[in-house]
Symmetry: C2
Subunit: 274 residues, 2 copies
């Protein structure tokens, strides 16, 4: 099923430099890292910062896209679900609309990689997202690496959610998720954008699978709560380098990330809003 890969590993270089000036803080934010090897998964901030309500964007989309062409996350002020597919950033908002994100919009949390398939296989015909995850785990390699998973699928049904834009002072994500909007659509074609993280990323990213969706006609999208696969093709990309970009905001630097928020995260990720 899995094929050996022989490939010339191109290294993508996108170059930038800037002046940073000191003012009220001794240590200033730096130039974004703007070169990335193809096996690198890059993330903006850590999931526990988002859990605690740190929704102010830190990295503009145009900079985020220098780190890859495939990924997911959220937008400034937690304004919807971010979907990055084929190098384009889309935002699935809580009013049900999908639109392209402006290059200047900043993300407070995102995960992205330059997607180069290491292998592919027919998608298991799962009757639920839980079944899909379990079936994929049997076929995907590298339990202690990161894996980007792209599924081109016909879906019998898909259950999606998005979250409404927030204003400061921000509520915690678990509270916001209770106000999420959800949709179920039947007989849809589109792409499931998945990132699978090892279990030991707890607090930093989402252990296991994290799925967003974009329909082929780009009119439907969101965070996947559940789905039934009719048919599809899975391709995957194993990432052995993991880069985390930390915020230098006062909120981030002063936050207490010592609490275990795993249970709270699980409810946010898989909640049906009931």
């Amino acid at each position: 099923m899995l094929r050996p890969v022989i490939r010339f590993n191109a290294v993508v270089f996108l170059i930038a430099a800037s002046l940073t000036g000191g003012c009220d803080r001794p240590v200033q934010p730096r130039t974004p890292l703007v070169s990335v090897a193809e096996d690198q998964l890059t993330q903006v901030s850590i999931i526990n910062a988002l859990m605690l309500g740190e929704y102010n964007g830190m990295l503009p989309m145009e900079n985020l896209l220098r780190y890859g062409n495939f990924g997911l996350g959220t937008c400034d002020h937690l304004d919807g679900e971010l979907i990055v597919l084929d190098g384009v950033a889309y935002q699935a908002r809580s009013d049900g609309t999908v639109r392209k994100v402006s290059p200047q919009d900043k993300t407070p949390f995102a995960v992205i990689t330059p997607f180069h398939a290491d292998g592919d296989f027919a998608c298991p015909l799962a009757k639920s997202l839980e079944q899909l995850d379990a079936q994929l785990n049997k076929q995907l390699p590298s339990q202690n690496s990161f894996v980007a998973v792209r599924i081109e699928a016909k879906l019998k049904s898909i259950h999606l959610r998005s979250v409404p834009r927030q204003e400061p002072p921000y509520a915690r994500l678990a509270a916001v998720a209770k106000k999420q909007t959800t949709w179920t659509r039947e007989n849809v074609e589109g792409t499931l954008i998945g990132i699978r993280c090892p279990g030991w990323v707890a607090g930093l990213n989402v252990p296991g699978f994290h799925w967003h969706f974009l329909s082929s006609d780009h009119t439907l999208g969101g965070h996947v709560i559940d789905c039934q696969i009719e048919s599809g093709k899975v391709s995957f990309d194993v990432c052995d380098s993991w880069l985390i970009k930390l915020s230098d905001s006062v909120e981030f630097q002063q936050a207490d990330f010592s609490r275990n928020l795993s249970k709270e995260l699980e409810s946010v990720e898989r909640s049906r809003g009931k």
Copy 2:
């Protein structure tokens, strides 16, 4: 005390590409990432892999040094304490000798950054390593970022350790540390090489400070268990990007990193071998 910084952020580019061929595993190791922004802390593997006895080197020193000029770690087969200072990699072995590491020697665990001071201050005159850490924490910024700390010091005394080269099947690090060699020297000059990680790196790196030492004459070095500072100067570099390079070895990919090894790590890091 802390000075504003105005700096042109050069991005270091060191370019390499290679052919990787598939054989018994479908997903092959890739070209090392060979470009790094100056605020990036790069680490090879995760500390819990070392705790579980994964001592086979994965990255040659010549590649490690492409990620920075300042850092610490260990060598292939856990053969001593690795010290990277001013771009040179040294190995403090358990027989008390210090030597330069061969470019082809591989490290199973290391932490490195291109050191560019964001600020400096006079070193607190601490009577123990514990006091030093506490005093530094009052003066260093960014509790949720990584900080590289370099101290040029005159020491009243320093208590060092190193560990002997291991052969497979490898014992766990906690067992090996019981066989460590330790030295105390008085009235020594040299450099303390420190990496301070946020508390939330548990399992991946060492939360808090991790110190190695190299004497000015390069004849004495090791992992610092304790010290008394007579005088010194601290310079520090805040790192807001954190890159982890994961092993694709079968041992790493099949390992169970779900156990909390924090207590075991603490005893290994600060043990006096008693």
